[in-house]
């Protein structure tokens, strides 16, 4: 009997080691090889290096005991390619589906790569499954991708740059952001295209990114203390935020749905919210009362206190 090309059939599971928590290119390469080998999803475990962290901490990756064991054969995507004797039957999926897989692989859920691989393996065996938009695995993938897409969108929205200077005295705009998923890499292109001619850095707990006007540079994670505090100019933004609020239309739930509290501590304007909410009813009451009275008591008359 011919020896199995990988360990699964001898009872030994196979672990694939990806370069980073969001290493979709590595996943794709490994999945292609595994599908060619006919590796069943149950016999494949997925591991990854934390971005830019040393491999010394590899022991921590086994935190979920079910995922892997000491007997696993650990292979990188490149090493896996060498095991493939001949190109396998390709799995055809649509571009939009590939984008869903790519986004899903940025999720923090530890089962993300296993789920992607399981779906691909099932599609390989049953091609019409690719068109089943309501398949349970596919819906799970869509949910992961949706959460990631939303978090990327929120990062584009809620990163707040503050002016600072780098070590050589050059102006640098710096922001601190704490994303829920592994999205800093996926979200950075947007800032590069928008602020091409401005030097900026985004610090986050897992990794940091710097745009030096030429290329995106990657650096290890940082702490909030390393980002600059509020500057004098921020008062203008706070004043705008307070003034653009209409107290007659208080709808806190609608605000919270789009701007959940976990983002608040890194958004300067949220410090104004409690006072705006607390005074909204009385301000509206005064307006309604004044409509019947002498029109001289309007609230906006006091708006520009230092004119």
């Amino acid at each position: 009997m011919r020896a199995a090309p990988y360990g699964a059939e001898s009872g030994q599971a196979l672990s694939v080691l990806l370069d980073a928590p969001d290493d979709f290119a590595g996943f794709r390469q490994a999945a292609r090889a595994l599908l060619a080998l006919g590796a069943a999803p149950d016999g494949v475990h997925w591991r990854w290096n934390d971005t830019l962290a040393t491999r010394a901490a590899e022991g921590d990756l086994f935190a979920d005991g079910k995922l892997s064991s000491a007997q696993d054969r650990v292979l990188t995507p490149d090493a896996l390619d060498l095991l493939v004797p001949a190109p396998g039957r390709p799995v055809h999926i649509r571009k939009a589906q590939l984008a869903v897989l790519r986004d899903a692989c940025c999720h923090r859920n530890p089962a993300r790569f296993a789920l992607c691989y399981r779906w691909l393996w099932r599609v390989q065996r049953m091609p019409q499954l690719a068109g089943d938009a309501l398949d349970a695995d596919w819906r799970d993938l869509e949910r992961l991708a949706h959460a990631v897409g939303r978090e990327i969108h929120k990062m584009h929205a809620f990163v707040r740059f503050r002016p600072a200077q780098d070590a050589s005295g050059e102006p640098l705009h710096v922001a601190w952001f704490e994303p829920e998923h592994h999205i800093v890499r996926a979200a950075s292109g947007f800032f590069m295209r928008r602020f091409t001619n401005m030097r900026w850095a985004i610090l986050s707990p897992d990794c940091s990114v710097l745009w030096d006007l030429h290329a995106l540079q990657w650096a290890p994670g940082a702490t909030a203390a390393q980002a600059p505090g509020p500057d004098a100019g921020e008062a203008l933004w706070l004043a705008y935020y307070q003034s653009t609020f209409n107290p007659a239309r208080l709808k806190e739930q609608a605000m919270l749905r789009e701007m959940p509290r976990r983002y608040w501590k890194n958004l300067p304007e949220t410090q104004a919210i409690s006072a705006l909410v607390a005074t909204a009813r009385s301000r509206t009451g005064h307006m309604l009362a004044a409509m019947g009275d002498d029109p001289g008591e309007g609230e906006a008359a006091g708006a520009g206190e230092d004119s």
Binding site: H107, D140, R193, R194, L236, W237, T244, N246, L250, G298
Partner: protein
Amino acid sequence: MQTIAKLRILADAAKYDASCASSGVKGRDSLGGKGMGSAEGMGICHSYTPDGRCVSLLKILLTNFCIYDCRYCINRKSSNVQRARFTAAEVVALTLDFYRRNCIEGLFLSSGIIQSSNYTMEQLVEVARSLREDHDFRGYIHLKTIPDADPQLLALAGRHADRLSINIELPTSQGLQQLAPEKSASGIASAMGDVARHIDEARQEGQAHAAQKPVSLPGAQRARRARPARYAPGGQSTQMIVGADGASDAVILRTSSALYTGHRLRRVYYSAFSPIPNASADLPLQAPPLIREHRLYQADWLMRFYGFAHEEIIAPGATGMLDLEIDPKLAWALAHRQHFPINLNRAPKEWLLRVPGLGGRSVERLLAARSVRSLRLADLQQLHVASAKVLAFVELADYHPRPGALESAQLREQLIAQMAQGAVQRRHSGMHLTAAGQMALF
């Protein structure tokens, strides 16, 4: 007056405009430029205020001095609010500073009318010109247009702005005459028509340009034809005040429908009339009708995305008002029960879109899945749309509504009760299941 004091007054004065959209412009970034800014199709809401509204653009007036006396407006001549005026340079500096901090997508600039319509419009255009030409600003610019300004100024505004808007203000010309005597409905309509024509021409030129492939000789540098000039690529929008005059919802929707088809507007915004400081005595003394505004937006979506005609949403001869208790799609289904239940495995897309509780994306997924297999009740559960509201109006391979349920005189009340119960359950369960939590179920 200091900039911050002016900002307080002129942002406060602008907040009654509902629009803050920054969408509709694609494929613009700062690569190869000198300035900053980008627009990638979908607008971004950078913050939310406790009124639930998004902050996407720096929305301010250039000045709140005004020679008009529109009753509903906080800036009318007879109001005694404090007045302020920005210089064009101040607005440019504020926009760039907020943009650099990543607080906004761009600027939404409007103004009270000072001296004359033309003079005011010139000032607005100057801000946009300076941002684009002096600072190579590539973010979003929305200009509120003064209806009776010189058409040449309108043309210039569209060169720099991504979106133009002219507020129709009130749903009928009688309402406008009564509450905004200096404004003319025909002037507003003709300015909208001018903008629509400019947008059409620019779009056609753009398409023609894209279709013509230049021929280059071998070895020559690739020939490039000059791009045609842009004109408000984000289209035009308008705003209607709801609840300040006596117009019914039927009248409002008829007006919106005419605007969408006649002038191809991107959006009509509905603004529930909000109590303002120093309000005119001619106006209703009440809190803003927010639920009415919400139902109008739902009806508006039915017209734009679900294939409903305005006269279907509010049947002629009825009260002319939307049902505040239930959404307009459910109201329509209850009034047209003879068309239901809809067979989700066989009915065409336009009928799936008429099922209460089914949104456009759910419909797309159902259509995709039914092309490879037959749909079952579990599929609706998988989509999280198996609510009482949907189940009352559909049938599937393994599901049919109870005989007689659709004809029941109590159906409306039953659905209202079940929807209220569902809302309570969702609140108690913490509402948002995380994706990780859901995955553990499978």
